[in-house]
Amino acid sequence: MMPTPQIVPIIETRNLSKTYGRFAAVHELNISVPNGSVFALMGANGAGKTTVIKILLNIISPTRGTATVLGAESCAIGPAILAKIGYVAENQVLPLRMRVNDFFEYLRPCYADWDRSLEEEIRGQLALPPNRKIGELSHGMRMKMALACALSFRPKLLVLDEPLSGLDPLARDELIGGFMHQASETTILISSHELDEVERFATHVGFLHEGRLLFQGSVGALAEHARSVFETEGLQKVERPSLRDIFVAMLRAARKIAKESTLQ
């Protein structure tokens, strides 16, 4: 049974936009991630999920709008805030020449809250080879190592950007088991297009399509919303529609609206 999330948002964006030339990667985005929630930011490839995350972590700057993360403006996020954020991403470029042990040793002094016993526990649980070079690890093993690094300092916010992509079912389970182990202590923002997997653990959902937010809310609110979407779209009602069904229905609705506005 998941703990009831608190209302205070740990991440909040206001009219957040990011454009590259004439292309709008993110458009007027307003999302709110409640403290203690597992917020799944979902969308097809190219929907703008990674761009949003990079803005939230001050890796790139927004073109317009603002975002606050752990109470700080994203543009002003520095070491103090980053010390409370764990991050795992599919494309994360790790120091490939370092050995796993050396990487942990390198990171420990960076985080004041690093918990050595927790590190040992997670490393044991994920069966990380201590003396292998990071460059020699498989993709799944690298993701697990990155997750172990992200969890060992008990982050207030755990950001996972497409962590399940390219992993086999066993690795997925191990990874999900790894971060859900600490879900009671942290807020998790996970971006994914793996709808079936995310459905298993998300408490809140945000649907992104072409940089625009189609829906955000709790999983319960999503079910309510789904009903109206199904009715609008004239689809057959399903007793317990899956995230995939709902997302597809919302996508169709969004495309229909876009087509109509183009014709007008």
């Binding site: 990079k54 972590l57 890796i59 790139i60 520095g78 070491p79 103090a80 980053l82 010390a83 954020i85 991050y87 991403a89 494309n91 994360q92 470029v93 790790l94 120091p95 990171l107 960076c110 985080y111």
Partner: protein, 520 residues
């Protein structure tokens, strides 16, 4: 990689130590150049690798999401480079200097300034460029682009401004321009590093680097400003107040020659001396003059100088105007003869010849009418500040000039000196017999008024002369016979700058067509 760079440094120092000051040890000598090149490539590659370990461009690097203070990260990298490049280099250079018998205090000062210079003017700029790229390939491409921009700017500048593109180049004040360029490079590098580490704007940083490459060419110190700074720095001695220039009694002469042949001859001479940029500039300058060039030879008499003094021409500006004051021609230089006005201090008459150049079209327009010629001289008075006696086949150690070695090399006596301090820019030497007879005095003056400028590659400054001993063709006969070398000595005179000043010499009435032709 650190070990490799240190090994190259060690190899270089060993080769330098073994190459010998006078007698050439070709094996060690041959190694110096490739080792020096390898050393430069090595420290550049190490600097780049250290910076690119945590590449700044891109959005997926792990370090971006770590709680790292950017200042700490940048300082950590610079300290690492200082410890791994400057540290070993400092130890090796100091050991080399002490092994050569140089005084500890002078060696320490020279080595420290050299390491600081290389760190600030090479390692930091390379690190700055590396911070705008992800890997060595990108860095090489950016470096090549910067070289192209620099070369194009240089050509453009020479094309647009002619010889005035660099007013201080090839003068004793060029160090001011170099200082400006080095300070500019360092400041540019700091700006790029800050742009990258604090704002992560790689496109802006690359743009700044390209702008900087062009600025190195176009940002020039005007001559008058450079001269004023030099004058302010040199604390005038007042010795120059008595010096005056006047036109000698000998009649001026002229020589007409085609611009093309003159350009070819001068350019060839410059190329043979290895002054490629000056040769390019000369060729361009002459090529623009469509027809002949008229060279006027004027006798100039210098007064108020003692036998121990010499007068260097830093710059000569000529202005030819008509009788009614209309400007006919203004030229920034006097051709190849500008340099030493009173070359021989022993010449009590103080007479010298000054050659000036006037374009053929100006000559044709002005030759029939009386003209007024004004020559503005920017001069430097140098005076003997030290004299050293060295056995004709021996050596001398002195805190002033370092280690000097003399030896016979066929028909000459070679004098080679190796100083931990700045080498003198003006000096002369002559071979003396014990009874005072002496062979001709040989002068070498290459004006360079810098106060202190650390050597970039070698911690030592080399200088020397070749003194005639015997004419193999039997035309010249010298006072000292080679058999007397055992009791002979070389008298080395070191000149130091005394005053920088300006004088104007005016020829009130000069009718060009009446000058006698003096074919060369």
């Amino acid at each position: 990689m650190v070990a490799l760079v240190v090994a190259i440094q060690l190899g270089y120092e060993c080769a330098a130590l073994n190459s010998g000051l006078l007698e050439q040890k070709t094996g060690a000598e041959a190694l110096l150049r490739p080792l020096m090149l390898a050393w430069f490539i090595g420290i550049a590659a190490l600097s780049a690798a250290v910076v690119q370990q945590d590449a700044v461009p891109g959005v997926d690097q792990d370090w971006l999401i770590r709680p790292l203070n950017r200042t700490d990260l940048l300082l950590a990298k610079l300290i690492f480079l200082a410890l791994t490049i400057s540290g070993p280099m400092f130890i090796l250079n100091l050991a080399h200097a002490l092994a050569m018998g140089m005084p500890f205090a002078s060696s320490l000062a020279a080595v420290l300034s050299k390491e600081l210079f290389i760190f600030t003017c090479f390692i930091i700029p390379v690190a700055a460029l590396a911070s705008t790229t992800r890997n060595l390939t990108e860095l090489i491409i950016l470096g090549a682009a910067l070289v192209v921009i620099f070369a194009v700017s240089l050509s453009l500048s020479a094309f647009l401004a002619g010889p005035e593109w660099c007013p201080t180049c090839h003068t004793g004040m060029s160090w001011l321009q170099h200082l400006l360029q080095h300070v500019g490079t360092l400041l540019g590098a700091i700006v790029i590093l800050c742009t990258q580490y604090y704002w992560r704007r790689s496109a802006v940083a690359r743009g700044l680097a390209m702008l900087g490459a062009a600025s190195l060419v176009f940002m020039q110190i005007p001559w008058s400003a450079a001269f004023a700074i030099e004058r302010w720095l040199s604390e005038p001695s007042g010795d120059a107040s008595a010096i005056a220039l006047e036109l000698g009694e000998e009649a001026p002469s002229l020589n007409t020659t085609s611009a093309g042949s003159l350009a070819a001859r001068q350019t060839t001479q410059l190329l043979l001396r290895g002054n490629v940029d000056q040769a390019f500039e000369n060729l361009h300058r002459r090529a623009r003059r469509e027809d002949m060039v008229v060279m006027i030879d004027l006798p100039v008499h210098t007064m108020g100088m003692s036998a121990a003094e010499m007068l260097l021409v830093d710059r000569l500006h000529i202005q030819l105007s008509s009788e009614d004051g209309r400007l006919l021609y203004r030229g920034p230089d006097a051709g190849p003869s500008a340099g030493l006005l009173a070359a021989d201090p022993a010449d009590a008459t103080g007479s010298a010849h000054q050659t000036i150049e006037i374009p053929g079209d100006v000559y044709r327009k002005a030759s029939a009418t009386p003209t007024r010629l004004q020559m503005d001289y920017w001069l430097t008075l140098v005076k003997v500040r030290a004299e050293h006696k060295i056995a004709a086949l021996g050596e001398l150690r002195s805190p002033d000039i370092g280690l000097c070695v003399t030896g016979r090399d066929g028909n000459i006596i070679a004098l080679h000196c190796n100083s931990i301090k700045q080498a003198p820019f003006c000096y002369s030497a002559a071979l003396y017999a014990s009874d005072g007879r002496h062979n001709p005095e040989i002068f070498k003056c290459d004006p360079d008024y810098r106060r202190h400028w650390p050597p970039f590659i070698d911690v030592f400054n080399f200088f020397g002369l070749e003194l005639p001993l015997r004419d193999p063709y039997g035309v010249a006969h010298y006072a000292i016979d080679p058999s007397e070398l055992g009791t002979s000595y070389v008298l080395l005179k070191i000149y130091g700058e005394r005053d920088h000043f300006k004088r104007t010499l005016t020829v009130a009435e000069l009718q060009l067509e009446r000058l006698r032709e003096n074919p060369r």
